[in-house]
């Protein structure tokens, strides 16, 4: 029975830990599918987390926090768009720049505004997105098998977590069942063809980049307003890059993206759980090994040893209209 409890515990924190990855991963999916590489996911998440926590701390409203997070992340996404779509700058350089600006600005502004060493004030429950108990979760708690799964693992997450998982079918629908999605995929593969059809490549890519901003803002907001009660400096701690790794792992597809994020979330949950406990057969696994595992897996995947990840063909290439 105890083993079951532990398993439920690990799986529940797997979901919790994979939410920011999933939101950021889907964010990257929109941008990269349209042909704009974005390694600035990390920076946008961080800026979103800070803006969300700051706004929630000042106004006391979680919803205003979420709006601020989305607004700031979209603004940064537009800077990335301005540099890489309008001015045809190097997309990777632009993403790196945004990561640095966000990393520095969140600390400087946080210190200047709240005087708590780069933190924002601890948020009360009303200014956060708290846990939601799914309907009937209490009733089935004692039912064997179903009880632990439904009320132990699936229930009790924040609204943003459920939104993140709903965003997966939604993204699938947008990408594969709408006109916008068709064009988005096309512009990432062959922008010239889209242009020939009389559709603006620039506008399409800007819209994709705005989607990225919205989702990264939500990812940051989740970290600051649900997972934690406020902003701590450098709180994203490389999750934007893990999301990027998950995106590659998932070959730029929404449903595999969810499984990739759950896998990386599981590794994270497991490494927290296993800290210092010896495993049968292998003995004590260093925490650092578990922490490095997502990156190692991504490298192996990228090398083509587990299937082949082929990025959108026009990714990273600014579009120059023929004259």
């Amino acid at each position: 029975m105890e083993a079951l409890d532990i398993a439920a515990n690990v799986l529940s924190s797997t979901i919790r830990l994979s939410v920011p990855l999933l939101l950021a991963c889907l964010a990257g999916l929109y941008s990269e599918r349209s042909g704009v590489f974005d390694i600035g996911l990390e920076g946008k998440m961080l800026a979103g987390a800070f803006a969300g926590a700051a706004a929630a701390a000042v106004t006391g409203s979680a919803w205003l926090g979420l709006s601020a997070a989305i607004l700031v992340a979209v603004a940064l996404a537009l800077v990335h768009g301005f540099a890489s779509i309008t001015h045809r700058g190097n997309q990777i350089v632009s993403g790196v720049a945004i990561n640095f600006v966000a990393a520095g600005a969140t600390i400087i502004l946080g210190q200047a505004w709240f005087h708590q060493g780069g933190r924002t004030p601890s948020l009360p429950g009303t200014a956060r997105f708290g846990a939601i108990t799914l309907p009937g979760a209490e009733a089935v708690r004692d039912v064997p098998v179903l009880g632990p799964i439904y009320s132990g693992i699936l229930s009790g997450h924040s609204l943003l977590a459920y939104l993140a998982f709903l965003a997966v079918p939604f993204t699938w629908w947008v990408l594969y069942r709408t006109r916008f999605g068709l064009r988005l995929r096309a512009v990432g593969e062959n922008p010239a063809a889209v242009d020939t059809a009389g559709i603006s490549v620039t506008f399409l890519r800007y819209r994709a980049v705005v989607c990225t901003g919205i989702l990264t803002g939500m990812a940051g907001c989740y970290m600051a307003l649900s997972q934690n009660a406020g902003f701590v400096k450098d709180m994203t701690a490389g999750r934007g890059y893990i999301a990027l790794a998950a995106l590659i792992f998932a070959k730029w597809k929404p449903v595999p993206a969810m499984f990739a994020c759950l896998l990386f979330g599981f590794l994270d949950a497991l490494s927290i759980r296993l800290q210092g406990t010896p495993l049968p057969l292998v003995g004590r696994v260093p925490v650092q090994f578990m922490q490095a595992l997502p990156y190692v897996l991504t490298v192996i995947l990228l090398a083509g040893f587990i299937g082949k990840a082929i990025p959108p063909r026009a990714g990273g290439v600014p579009y120059v209209k023929e004259r």
């Binding site: 350089v93 640095f100 600006v101 990393a103 520095g104 400087i108 200047a112 990027l244 922490q291 990156y295």
Partner: protein, 379 residues
Amino acid sequence: MSTPYARLPAWADYGLIPLINLAVAFAVAGLVVLLVGENPFRAAIILVKGAFGSGQGIAYTLYYATNFIFTGLAVAVAFHCGLFNIGGEGQAYIAGLGIALVCLAFDQVLPWWLTFPLAILGASAAGALWALIPAWLQAKRGSHIVITTIMFNFIAASAMVYLLVDVLKPLGSQAPETRVFLEGAQLPKLGWILAEFGLRVRPSAPLNVSFLLALVMAFLVWALIWRTKLGYEIRTYGFSPKAARYAGISESRIIMVTMLISGALAGMMALNPIMGDQHKVSLDFVAGAGFVGIAVALMGRSHPAGIVPAAILFGMLYQGGAELAFEMPAISRDMIVIIQGLVILFAGALEHLFRHPVQTLFATVAPKSVGLAAGQERA
């Protein structure tokens, strides 16, 4: 509407436009200073004074600049080949392992001038090895070097934490760092040179011999890129991989050789803090220098003659920024991270933002300077 395809005179291309980009980056940084309620001009004065106002300040500025010359050169060499090496941070971190092995083995038996060359070898070998794997994956398996080098930064960080906590830490010690190296692995300081000029430098100032090594490397990189066959091949591949292929240049060889050089340069950065200042390998000794290298390389237009002043500028920001944090507590050292980001944004991603207006200006005011006959600019 379209401006004639005009080539700017070299001084405008290599001097004016980078300066405008830099000025805009600093102007935006000034806005951030305003936003936290301080006077940007006063901040700038404190910063410059902190960096160059005293012998001690200059010694620190050049000490930081040493780090950035190495990492800037590393990024620049890869840039010439059309590769973006974001992995300087990880390569330098792993190089700490190479240095630790050399120093821990020889610091009791050899004098510093014998340990130093060995440590250079150790550092560059470890850094190059850490760059070799992403390079090999790019060359042979087609995986994108940007992503793999980012991943290798994280793997390097995990590996070094593990090694420092579980392997290299001396018995009975709590701090995750190696033992302090003996004299045989401590580099001589260079503060006395500044003292010759009548400046006051305390013996603790960390400027050391690796600064000279950095300058030598800057010269060697210039010679390599512009004066050797290999450098020509690197530039050819960076300019047009297709042309390079037609010219019979082996694609995988050039990628791997370039990344080995880049990784080795990034690795040498570790010599400066480890052997020159701290005399031990501790957690996170790279402290972002690998990333500063990106800004430095972009600002210096990937040319050693630009990289050295750009590195000194960032050294100034680091040292002056530390002073600034004393005077204006609202502006901590993280301000530099913002400036670094803005420099990367304006000198890198938005480098063409002002090219167009400047071209138009030149074409209108002095058509001859951009190779147009007078009156042709309306064409």
